[in-house]
Amino acid sequence: MTPKRTIRALVAAAGLLATPLVALPALAQFPDKPVEMTVLFGGTANSIAQVLATEMGKSLGKPVVPVSRPGGGGAVGYSYVADTRPDGYNIVWNSNSINTAYHTGKIAFDYQKFAPIAMVSSEVPALAVKAGRGWASLDDLKAAVEKMPGKLKVGISGKGSFTQLVSAALFDAMGIGDKIAYISYGDGKAPVELMAGRIDAAVQWPGQYKSYVDSGQLDVLAVTGKKRVALLPEAKTAIEQGYDVDITMWRGLAAPKGTPPEVVKALQEAAQKATEDPAFEKAAKTLGFEISYEDSAAFGKEIAKDDAFYAKLLGHLGLKQQ
């Protein structure tokens, strides 16, 4: 053996001896490699996921990598993550779409295939009309629709989309559910169509209206959550106006069922820290979502409650497949 080789052998031996000392705590410590976060949609969902992943990576000590797996109304990404090993290294940036994708028949399994980690954010849809139509509240709109000979044309994001579910619930509560014609627009074009006067109202997200409200071209009649939205502080909730509608779109994190509780806990704590970070708070303001952290247990209850709610709503709309 040449001296060089001897040294190398010694180093290797030392390394082997030292390995258990280093590796054992590392095994017990989650994570010891990057965590992959599957993102189901583009747009706001993707933007929030990018910021959240960066912040979570900082507190976990290993990067969290957002990987886009869009398509099928979330079906593609949910199916992918549900089939991965339940070790916490594959998590999904989920939303109410887990409930709607199941009930509309896009995926064969429901929310019980996942272990909830934490609820992170929520977004509240808003109902807008063109300024100058003399409609200042939901009651004004209701009165006008009741007198209308035809139907009210309402822009949504597509049949079975979250915006349509919200619209249906809201207009049913207002008692004008049968006088609505839904017009589907993808790609966030509904506010522009509203401006052009081709539709009478639109149910979309506050961020899409913000600029038009500032320039006085659109009026937001209602938001559908419990509380008002920071981005549109003037817009009243439906509840304030006497209509019992409380629907928000939540987003959160989930792992495949069977993920060890301590791993879920570690991820939950990282998510909580991320939501308290100033960078995340700034993103909430600019992207127009609310931070609504809930821990694993509370989040799990919320999803189960929502599942029953959407099953009923989709059944009512004739969109329920399973």
Binding site: S68, G71, G158, R198, Q208, Y212
Partner: protein, 502 residues
């Protein structure tokens, strides 16, 4: 003016200029390498911009966008494989030019006219953003449907041999795009119970398959039979197009830039439609239309001017209405939002300085493109010196990577393979590939706009014939089809006459 000076200060810091430069290089690389697409480059660049200042962040994204748009022409011209759907029309004459040994002229022309188109559209945007966005608002579903149908009618000009074969190809493209969840009613179409088919066929994946796979298969087959042409060696010189050539085509460039800007300004359309419309416009109004498809320089000038003019055009609905025109601008929109810039009518009141800074960044991006690409031509043409069989292997690897990264889905790699083999079969059967990609680009827009129009009118077709704009474009489409039909009938008649005389 104060705003403008502040914007100059913000946009011309070394940091911001560096960001534009970096973006342009990334865009050029992703755009010019077959298989890799600049939409993916933008998606990768987006999270990087979160930690940056507003202006450099936007500059990086816009640089990537514009670099990618021009870069797409490089592989379209050199290999006949478009780097982006917008460059698909450039293949028609750009690739024949390469085969004739005029690659560097085609590349140089593409860069110069791209810059002209881009700057033209930017000026239009600066001068008339309010006016144009008002006109763009008037384009509702019925009008956009008619416009896209007019785009479809360019198939007539693309199917050089037989109109029937062109139509077969176009319909195949339309058919492929119906796979997946339909966006309006949420129904599953042609998914056969497969979750993977629910996501549909991605346009970029299909494009990679359509153009790159036949190239790869053919190269391997020829290599096996020993019939592969030796790579062009020695005589590769980086000739640039002459000033005279540019000057002679100035009027064509102006018209195509106007087409591109106009199409770009209408949300939901995009670079590919503009490029095809410009190409068929150039061919129709050419004194020598028979040269098209055989290496006519006008066939490079028209689509390349138009697809870069789209970059300025799409900024109009993006900034003034908050509506992204295509997946690439949707990522730029996300970048704007995260930095607290909410596009829409109020943007020009609240963030005037940022808007000016964006304009300046676009100009800087074009300066970079001109420099990088003109210098790069010397390098690009060396690609032709690589033995074809080796090149095919490299392209194969890049395509697999590219198809996977679009949606991080192994399924997309398989779909690329299937579509590629299908495309190779089509080429064998003499069916042109370009109408397939045209059908794929236009199909989804055409369908959803038509159905939205029907929802709006309650199922009445009067939504089309009460709109002068829609009627105008429907009329144009009918005219194009009619003219094509009469020409081909006349050609057939004269052929019959010839055979009788013989």
């Amino acid at each position: 003016m104060d705003h403008f000076l502040t914007a100059l200060q913000m946009a011309l810091t070394p940091y911001a200029i560096g960001a534009v430069g970096l973006g342009t290089i990334i865009g050029l690389i992703f755009g010019s390498i077959p298989g890799l697409t600049f939409t993916v480059a933008l998606a990768l660049a987006l999270p990087v911009t979160f930690g940056m200042d507003t202006v450099p962040a936007i500059a990086l994204l816009l640089g990537t966008y514009i670099g990618g748009m021009t870069g797409g022409s490089v592989s379209a011209i050199l290999l006949g494989i478009p780097g982006t759907p917008s460059a698909a029309a450039t293949v028609l004459d750009g690739y024949p030019m390469t085969k004739q040994g005029r690659a560097s002229i085609a590349l140089g022309t593409a860069v110069i006219v791209s810059t002209v188109g881009g700057i033209f559209s930017l000026i239009v945007m600066i001068v008339s953003v309010n006016l144009v966005s008002k006109v763009a608002i008037d384009f509702g579903p019925a009008e956009i449907f008619a416009l896209v149908l007019f785009g479809m009618s360019t198939i007539c000009g693309l199917s050089s041999g037989s109109l029937m074969k062109g139509l077969i190809a176009g319909v195949l493209g339309l058919l492929i795009m119906t796979v997946g969840i339909d966006k309006i009613d949420g129904d599953n179409r042609m998914t056969f119970g497969s979750v993977n088919l629910l996501q549909g066929v991605n346009l970029l994946v299909a494009m990679i398959g359509l153009f790159a796979v036949p190239f790869i298969i053919d190269t391997f087959l020829q290599h096996r039979h020993g019939g592969l042409e030796a790579p062009a060696t020695g005589s590769l010189k980086a000739n640039l197009p002459s000033f005279g050539l540019m000057w002679r085509n100035a009027w064509l460039m102006a018209r195509c830039a106007a087409i591109g800007t106009g199409i770009g300004a209408i949300p939901g359309t995009g670079g590919a439609i503009a490029a095809f419309l410009a190409y068929s416009h150039a061919r129709r109004f050419s004194k020598t239309p028979e040269r098209f498809g055989r290496g006519a320089i006008e066939g490079v000038i028209a689509p390349e001017t138009a697809n870069n003019a789209v970059t300025g055009g799409t900024l109009i609905p993006l900034l003034s209405l908050g509506v992204p025109g295509d997946p690439a601008t949707a990522i730029v929109l996300a970048g704007l939002m995260i930095h607290g810039i909410t596009p829409g009518p109020a943007l020009f009141m609240t963030s005037e300085t940022t808007v000016y800074a964006i304009y300046i960044a676009v100009v800087v991006a074009y300066v970079f493109i001109l420099v990088f690409q003109l210098l790069g031509i010397r390098l690009f043409v060396y690609v032709l010196k690589i033995p074809q069989q080796l090149l095919a292997v490299i392209i194969l690897v890049l395509c697999v990577i590219g198809a996977y990264t679009v949606r991080n889905s192994a399924f997309d790699v398989y779909s690329m393979g299937v579509i590629g083999v299908l495309a190779w079969g089509l080429v064998r059967a003499g069916i042109p590939i370009t109408p397939v990609i045209l059908g794929m680009v236009l199909g989804p827009t055409m369908e959803s706009e038509y159905r939205t129009a029907m929802q709006l009118s309650g199922g009445h077709l009067n939504i089309f014939y009460t709109s002068p704009v829609a009627m105008f474009f429907l009329g144009l489409s009918a005219l194009v089809v009619l003219m094509q039909a009469t020409t081909s009938l006349r050609e057939r008649a004269s052929k019959r006459l010839e055979s009788k005389n013989a």
